[in-house]
């Protein structure tokens, strides 16, 4: 083990070329993760609610569309958005934007199903009761159903966020300087320390994912107490 390759490049692995260049490394991985986590959660909520509230035909259409995003590998989706969208429609997505869009679409597609299932897990009697009270369907959803369903969805949100953190490493394929990409740069320059470099970034991801897991679980438990 020769850890000097890590120490010598530590700042590059953590923040990339910043402040003399774009933010990179671990910092960019965190930025990518947080933006995709928020975007995928919003998208998942909208899609899940749409699936429950929409007509059957529209629901089937939506389910097929979501099925597509769950069926293609994220690498392929990134290629499509980055290299083909501009050629087909003339829309150029920036590098970092491409990754966030791809991860949010996939994350949103998975979460959409989780949200729909969470909403459906609330007894239909509650719908009837709410409607009987004179509330509109949207009001029943907002005031009665969602407050019960959301805590039940939390585990699937947490799992999805952890997946997102790991999936940001796929930004590597289009040269976004996140942690995995700068690590390959360091590895390529040092040439003889692949074990040290890849074990180290594996550890960093491990800490990141475990921390996210623990934090989310604590929050859920705490929120669960309040909701009850």
């Amino acid at each position: 083990m020769n850890l000097s390759v890590i120490w010598d490049n530590l700042d590059y692995l953590l923040i990339g070329a910043w402040p003399n260049g774009p933010v990179g490394g671990l910092a960019l991985t965190v930025i990518l993760s947080i933006s995709s986590a928020i975007a995928s959660a919003v998208l998942g909520l909208i899609l899940g609610i749409a699936m429950v509230m929409a007509s059957q035909r529209f629901e089937a259409l939506l389910a097929t569309a979501l099925g597509f995003f769950r069926a293609i590998p994220i690498i392929m989706l990134i290629f499509w958005i980055y290299f083909l969208l501009p050629v087909l429609f003339g829309i150029t997505a920036p590098q970092v934007g491409t990754v966030v869009i791809a991860l949010s679409l996939v994350g949103g597609a998975y979460l959409g199903h989780g949200v729909a299932a969470g909403i459906r897990s609330v007894s239909s009697k509650q719908w009837d009761a709410g409607l009987a009270l004179g509330l509109k369907r949207w009001e029943v959803l907002r005031l009665i159903i969602l407050p019960q369903a959301l805590p039940r969805m939390m585990p699937s949100f947490i799992n999805q966020w952890i997946s997102l953190i790991k999936d940001t490493s796929l930004a590597y394929v289009i040269g976004v300087p996140e942690l995995s990409f700068v690590a390959t740069q360091v590895n390529n320059r040092a040439m003889v320390y692949p074990i040290e470099v890849f074990l180290f970034i594996g550890l960093v991801y491990f800490i990141l994912c475990t921390a996210c897991d623990m934090l989310a679980n604590r929050t859920t438990k705490w929120a669960g107490l309040i909701v009850r």
Binding site: F83, F89, T92, G175, Q185, N188, P194
Partner: protein, 267 residues
């Protein structure tokens, strides 16, 4: 629904229209020239450990072009396989990444006049590869999306080729024993070998299996941009800056001394 479709069509027409406007004007307007360069291939393009910036021979040429236009230079790291898609999809304005001029590529994009010449060579552990007739009996590492890979498959169809994302990956595979030789442009291999800690165990056999000219890649049909690049390259040669750039990376006092056999304008 119909309204939505027509709205999408209008929006995409507008956006495509913008993309098709003169690229040189766009660059001037944006104040930035976006160039794709290698990030792991010394001395053409690599991340400098001290400054953390991408530097190298290709970057020096890119800088000269950006200066000529009078805009800032923004370097995007690329691997070999992403070079053409980056240009075609409009993600970058130019590619300066040891980019071999070929007829097939010239159908997709435009090239400047060549600014560097090299030939395809091999790097192997000492004594493994002596002559071209051994090639087909070896497992050879190449880079995805390079002319080297395509050329090797054409000339020596029975060779087992394993293609990697970039040359240093191929070299790691060579070092680990997954492939017995790797192939690349000679100067790139010289640059790689110069940075190998145990370089005495490797060699670059003297034979070459192709002659390649390296040019600047530009989007198809951007005549004004290509003309400006060509003009810049000729000026660099005329006022001696091209020689200076060459000597900084391949000169007698550099890490990778190679005689300069090609001048801009020779071909």
């Amino acid at each position: 629904m119909k309204r939505l479709i027509s709205a999408v069509l209008v929006v995409s027409a507008v956006l495509t229209g913008v993309a098709q406007a003169d690229r040189l004007d766009d660059i001037k307007k944006a104040g930035v020239l976006r160039v794709a360069a290698f990030d792991g291939n010394p001395p053409f393009g690599f991340v400098d450990q001290q400054s953390k910036q991408i530097i190298g021979l290709d970057v020096d040429y890119a800088k000269a072009i950006a200066d000529k236009i009078g805009v800032k230079l923004e370097i995007r790291p690329t691997n070999p396989a992403n070079r053409v898609p980056l240009l075609v999809s409009g993600q970058v304005d130019l590619v300066l990444a040891n980019f071999t001029i070929t007829e097939e590529r010239a159908k997709q994009l435009d090239f400047s006049i060549p600014y560097f010449a090299s030939g395809q060579q091999f790097l192997a552990k000492k004594g493994v590869l002596k002559s071209p007739d051994q090639i087909e009996s070896l497992r050879i590492g190449a880079d995805k999306g390079t002319t080297n890979e395509i050329n090797l498959r054409k000339l020596y169809p029975k060779t087992v080729i394993v293609a990697y994302d970039d040359t240093p990956f191929a070299f790691t595979a060579l070092r680990n024993g997954n492939v017995q030789a790797i192939t690349q442009d000679g100067p790139k291999l010289v640059g790689l070998l110069a940075n190998v800690p145990d370089k005495e165990n490797y060699e670059i056999p003297a034979f070459t299996i192709s002659d390649d000219y390296i040019g600047v890649g530009a989007p198809k049909g951007e005549k004004a941009l290509v003309d400006l690049v060509n003009e810049t390259l000729r000026e660099l040669e005329a006022d001696g800056r091209a020689l200076k750039i060459y000597n900084a990376w391949f000169g007698p006092d550099s890490k990778t001394p190679l005689p300069r056999l090609f001048k801009i304008g020779d071909k």
